[in-house]
């Protein structure tokens, strides 16, 4: 409900402000719509797709964060730490530098490159982590951290070597929803929804995993299959987010914490709640990004990090309450 309210208010915010009543008139009253076709077009062709995109990206990052934190039983895990975002970022950077124009099943080159980059990275992390003696989630996490750093270095190298494309790549790396039209929404909506629904369907195994591996195994959970499914689902959701908005920090980390604070640790509630919280964070951040230096725009990744950092510190300080801050 709160997410929908945020979405409606966000529709009105921007370089050309439109009130809530006017939004309703423009959307549902044809006479008013005809008379003000410019505003209607701003609303339907520019703001609405961008807002739908913000909701999808935020929800994907929120849900993926829950998946990774639940899998690793570590409240610091998020799509960045495990390498999913970096992998997707590398995919995007390669697609941009190589000028790839392919498309497959309606997915553009950038969306495909992000999806492939994310999944491949996570598979590599998973393989390295599984080869370690204890095959513990911590090994996976460390493998993710190591691989992320390497990938970030490769991305920097690619930027260094392709300085004519540095602006395009940088805008990806900073995260932005600018220019997201219905095309972008169409290209990423399915993978977003598949990732989120798959994560939601794994709620009970995620609950069991909170008690530790031995306990989860004793309850009949096939650990290997569980890990593969979570990693795939969370990577798909992350890739969908990165391919439509670039790298946006903190949402995947904070949304699960706020979700846990609101509804407790059970994943049946936590996955959808974190999705909604993630969507709200991104809607608000994007509204700020669009207005604070209007008519210019800030990359939304800068806003989420600037707002998210202090908020996270505040949560840390007041840890406890319902759900607390642990995984």
């Amino acid at each position: 409900m709160a997410t929908v309210t945020c979405a409606v208010i966000s529709l009105g915010v921007g370089a050309v402000p439109i009130g809530v009543a006017e939004i309703a008139a423009l959307l549902f009253d044809s006479a008013s719509a005809d008379a003000r076709s410019t505003e209607r077009s701003i609303l339907l062709q520019l703001r609405l797709p961008r807002i739908v995109s913000a909701v999808l990206v935020g929800a994907s990052l929120g849900a993926a964060g829950v998946g990774f934190q639940g899998l690793f039983r570590n409240s610091l895990a998020d799509p960045y730490v495990i390498g999913a975002s970096s992998g997707a970022g590398l995919g995007v950077t390669l697609a941009v530098t190589m000028g790839m124009q392919l498309s497959f099943l309606g997915l553009g080159a950038i969306a495909m490159a992000a999806l492939l980059g994310s999944i491949l990275t996570v598979i590599i992390v998973f393989t390295i982590g599984s080869l370690s003696a204890d095959r513990s989630p911590l090994s996976l996490l460390l493998a993710g951290v190591a691989l992320s750093s390497m990938i970030n270095a490769i991305v920097s190298l690619l930027m260094f070597l392709n300085d004519e494309k540095i602006v395009v790549i940088l805008s990806w790396l900073m995260g932005s929803l600018a220019g997201n039209d219905w095309q972008v929404v169409k290209a990423t909506a399915i993978s977003s929804l598949v990732g989120i629904v798959l994560l939601w369907s794994l709620a009970r195994p995620l609950d069991a995993n909170l008690l530790g591996e031995r306990a989860a195994q004793s309850l009949g959970l096939d650990l290997f299959r569980f890990r593969v499914l979570i990693v795939m689902a969370a990577s798909i959701a992350t890739a969908a987010a990165v391919s439509s908005a670039g790298i946006i920090g903190f949402v995947g980390l904070i949304a699960p914490h706020i979700g846990r604070f609101l509804v407790g640790p059970r994943h049946g509630w936590l996955v959808p709640t974190s999705g909604c919280v993630g969507a709200m964070i991104l809607l608000v951040s994007d509204a700020i990004a669009r207005t604070v230096v209007a008519p210019a725009e800030l990359p939304v990744g800068i806003v989420t990090a600037l707002l998210g950092g202090p908020f996270f510190l505040f949560l840390l300080k007041t840890r406890g309450g319902r759900g607390g801050i642990q995984a």
Binding site: R73, S201, L202, R204, P205, D207, A208, L210, L211, G212, R214, A215, Q217, S218, L219, G220, L221, D222, R260, G264, P265, R266, R322, G323, G324, Q326, A327
Partner: protein
């Protein structure tokens, strides 16, 4: 039919043999206590009995069927393990954890049925946890936490219960509380229970049979009277003991023989 059989089970970790051709047979309703010094292989044996570790050779059979052929879910309907340690830092409530015991029956994706809820309520009642159902697990005492894990195992409706040091870290009252509940459950529900303990005298009172582990093998398996022999205990633990009759239960009562060191 014999509920649980270990046949020549051997297991090594990083080239170090931990179990060497262990064979055991357990009956329904029986409580078997595993005894042995630290590192004797008690936890490893319990983990091989529920396939959390796979033996290098030999086999574990449930109802005469090799457990390797079972799916994780089928196995969890038959065997429940209470590990020595579990994560206790999540904010789940007691009812959430006990309800997870129904996962092998309800599946991981489907909503719980009336039967599942009834099983959870019964398990909570049997474990004396009805009043603590909404308590966060981080707020439980050691004894309450053990009872919750027992309740989860009961909700699991498994006929074989494996408990790894269920009394570790508990004060005397809770040790007796947990052990007497386990014994009562085994009798009432005809459960086969294997548990590891360090207290030989508790083992003597609560165990129908004892299995003494030493040097990767079973040194002795039998009734408390057969196993709690001074010579066997000295071999397994490296300390001299004398065994007298328990003044109330009449079971063997082990008294370590040691000389106080130095003047007070």
């Amino acid at each position: 039919m014999i509920p649980l059989t270990a046949r020549d089970v051997s297991f090594a970790f990083a080239d170090k043999a931990i179990l060497d051709r262990i064979s055991l047979e357990l009956c329904a309703g029986e409580v078997l206590v595993l005894l042995g010094a630290n590192g004797a292989g008690k936890t490893t044996l319990l983990q091989t009995l529920c396939r959390q570790l796979r033996p290098d050779s030999g086999a574990v059979l449930i109802q005469q069927e090799d457990i390797r052929s079972r799916s994780a879910k089928t196995l969890a309907r038959q065997v429940a393990l209470m590990p020595q340690h579990e994560n206790r830092d999540s904010q789940l409530r007691v009812i959430d954890v006990v309800t997870l015991g129904r996962a092998p029956h309800a599946g991981w994706w489907f909503p719980l049925t009336e039967k599942d809820h009834a099983a959870v309520e019964q398990a909570l009642a049997m474990s004396g946890l009805l009043t603590l159902r909404d308590r966060r697990i981080t707020e439980l005492s050691g004894g309450e936490w053990r009872r919750m894990i027992l309740a989860r195992a009961l909700a699991q409706h498994a006929s074989i219960l494996l408990l790894d040091e269920p009394t570790a870290g508990l004060d005397l009252k809770y040790q007796l509380d947990v052990l007497s509940r386990v014994q009562a459950m085994a009798r009432q529900c005809r459960l086969t229970v294997v548990l590891s303990l360090h207290d030989l005298n508790h083992a003597s009172i609560f165990g129908d049979r004892l299995a003494l582990m030493h040097d990767r093998q079973l040194l002795a398996v039998g009734t408390p009277k057969e196993v709690l022999q001074p010579a066997l205990i000295e071999t397994a633990f490296g300390i001299p003991v004398t065994v007298i009759d328990h003044p109330i239960h009449g079971t063997p009562f082990v008294v370590p023989l040691y000389e106080p060191q130095g003047e007070p």
